[in-house]
Symmetry: none
């Protein structure tokens, strides 16, 4: 038996999106409606009723983790989100390239964002070239958009109980990281960060990118400020808990990162992107191909959420129709529905009328030989409200894998 979870990011909508209907209700979706006729629907609160989910917390909950227990702050999942490899126990920081000036032996922050520089990627190598081996710690840095990035520290005896080196104001020195707990690990981590601050300045101050910026009158990115220390939680891989091999087909970095943390292998799918241009046929073909090697495939399609954030109900409707035609058309042509359990849902509701994630429950569709069919004839929010699976909180992956008879019994 094989398991497929398809998350259409931000799938759910509101009646205000399209003059009394949601995009999913208005879209022509014959393939998903056919699945609804064979299976059963329900309503999912990704985290719990009335909680407006982030993409990170909702995916944790969908994979069966309790985000109130394991979500330690944005730092860790931000690093995952820009595609870094992060392991349980790693200490993660959000970073800014900043502009500092030497005055009386101190490094005074004059621009916390280095003029929102565009050359972060060009400076990445210099930062990663810093040597911290004398301090017994490994690290990895990645630049993302403008001045932003993330830093991951890895090693024994580290702690997230440290204060920021970002002073959060200008005209003052780079802050000295301090231990926020009375522990040797916290004191050691603070020392590492302070050494890192000094060495980053040495590595960046005469970098060709910064010389060029100074020459053209722009503030150089000659310092790296750290904030929001968070430890990456040790997640027990679902693949280990359920004794399965799992794969991920996705375009967006965050979803690949959560999937990796949950024990899935991230497949390389040319053409799969985190926006509306993604190659949906390629994603379906990659899913079908993965079924020969893996028990469980997690597919993440991001564009629905992008259209929701843009407030573009027509684009969301059109993209849902493309998903139905291109992704599900391709997938179903190659699938034996007696040998697979399939779940289609969202990670939260992003109504174009709201332009943001909302806490409204999300429609969920389950189909496969173990699923008791209900009366629903269509995949939509309103049909899901009448569905045979009722209303539940998160935990799509545990339910899906359990329908496949994977996984342990709790108790005897």
């Amino acid at each position: 038996m094989k398991a497929i979870l398809v998350i259409l990011d931000g799938l759910g909508g509101r009646p205000t999106d399209l003059d009394g209907a949601t995009c999913l209700e208005r879209a022509a979706t014959p393939n998903m409606d056919g699945l609804a006729q064979r299976g059963a629907l329900g309503l999912m609160d990704p985290i719990r009723p009335g909680v407006r989910p982030g993409s990170d917390t909702s995916h944790l909950a969908i994979f069966g983790y309790d985000p109130f227990q394991v979500y330690t702050g944005r730092g860790a999942f931000e690093a995952l989100g820009i595609g870094m490899e992060v392991r349980g126990g790693d200490i993660c920081f959000r970073t800014n390239f900043a502009t500092v000036e030497e005055r009386g032996g101190e490094l005074i922050v004059v621009d916390r964002r280095a003029g929102r520089l565009a050359e972060g990627k060009e400076l990445e190598g210099a930062v990663n070239g810093i040597d911290l081996s004398d301090l017994g710690v490994e690290f990895s840095f990645r630049a993302s958009t403008e001045h932003r990035g993330a830093l991951v520290l890895r090693g024994e005896n580290l702690s997230a109980a440290v204060s920021d080196t970002d002073p959060h104001e200008t005209g003052v020195p780079i802050a000295q990281a301090k231990a926020l707990a009375d522990s040797q690990a916290a004191r050691r981590t603070a020392e590492i960060l302070n050494a890192f601050s000094r060495r980053a300045y040495q590595a960046l101050k005469e970098h060709p990118v910064n010389r060029r910026r100074r020459e053209s009158g722009k503030p150089p990115g000659n310092a790296l400020l750290l904030r929001g220390a968070a430890v990456m939680p040790h997640l027990r891989p679902v693949t280990e808990e359920y004794g399965v091999r799992g794969a991920c087909v996705a375009g967006g970095a965050l979803y690949k990162g959560v999937a990796r943390a949950a024990g899935l292998e991230v497949l390389d799918v040319p053409g799969a992107t985190g926006d509306l241009r993604t190659d949906l046929c390629a994603m379906a073909k990659a899913t079908l191909a993965a079924l020969s090697d893996y028990d469980f495939v997690f597919v993440h399609i991001k564009g629905t959420d992008n259209a929701g954030h843009d407030g573009d109900a027509q684009a969301k409707t059109d993209f849902i129709e493309r998903i139905d035609r291109e992704f599900f058309g391709t997938l179903l042509a190659g699938l034996d529905l007696t040998q697979v359990h399939l779940v289609v849902s969202g990670d939260h509701t992003t109504p174009p009328a709201a332009g943001e994630h909302t806490a409204d429950p999300v429609p969920a569709l389950f189909v496969g030989p173990a699923i008791r069919p209900d009366k629903c004839q269509k995949f939509s929010e309103r049909a899901a409200g009448e569905g045979g699976l009722g209303r539940f909180s998160g935990r799509l992956v545990p339910q899906l894998l359990a329908y496949c008879d994977f996984g342990p019994k709790f108790g005897a």
Copy 2:
């Protein structure tokens, strides 16, 4: 966007209430049925399935707090319930006026309830006149019904880990409060209580009320026994978490107290009482008026529960019809339903056939522009069982405020 939560206390019923129907099913409620036709219904377990809620615990859960975490015992919410101002960290006790006799330098309890005296309110001033300033603690006392009342201690370094001064039997001395934890705060609190016991006797023994009672052969209320120490939890105000201004329209003291603890301002509504005589039109008008100054109005109507406790199904049915006509008739005449989200539900089920709170799920009605309508045509328990919102536990306020797009995102 505005938010209104209307709690009809003890709303739900059982088929045994009226020969196969509940009071809500039997009552003519054209206004609430009209709302059901525009909105969607669901079933709420106030705390969780199978838990029989108190009024305090159910309201905590409805406001989004976890009563298993924050409910520390009856003392704190009893003090709120009789209208006292209680803050997070205050130590609260339930109290009895009692009759003691001096024998061999000890105060022997001869009647734990002082003959269920009626003059508690007249003794209140004498108790509040006790001076504890040398002990560095503030306190407040309020008498409620018969011999009952509540005491609230406020100050640094206090603890609820103290034993009762109520010996729970007669013929023995007033108990010495003892520290139940090895902490300086617990020892200090026990000392304060023992000093309070002695000083209360001094303040009460020659009080004119007690002289009068002795002269007419009644046991005097010359001591105050304390029991059930509980610390008032620090609740994070929902108004702060969601960034809204909230108001409360209610008759009963407990509901005003919980609302205050949740950050709402309690409005003075002449005619609003905690029984069947409340002025429902005045409550509706106060709600409408509050919408110009507040984002969120919590309305609590108590009489449905009173009729349920009295086992009077006819009175409950009649009162539900009055609520529909007078409260909702007035409210809906002044409301633009495209600009408001409205929830109508109960805090628990009080079936007249049971005469008590029961754990049965409670019907809940949501209406407003973001709510996906379902097929329900009527507001009733059975309709709610077929409603598009399924079944969920408590958390009406977080859901309501989230539909209005108030509040933070959990995660990124």
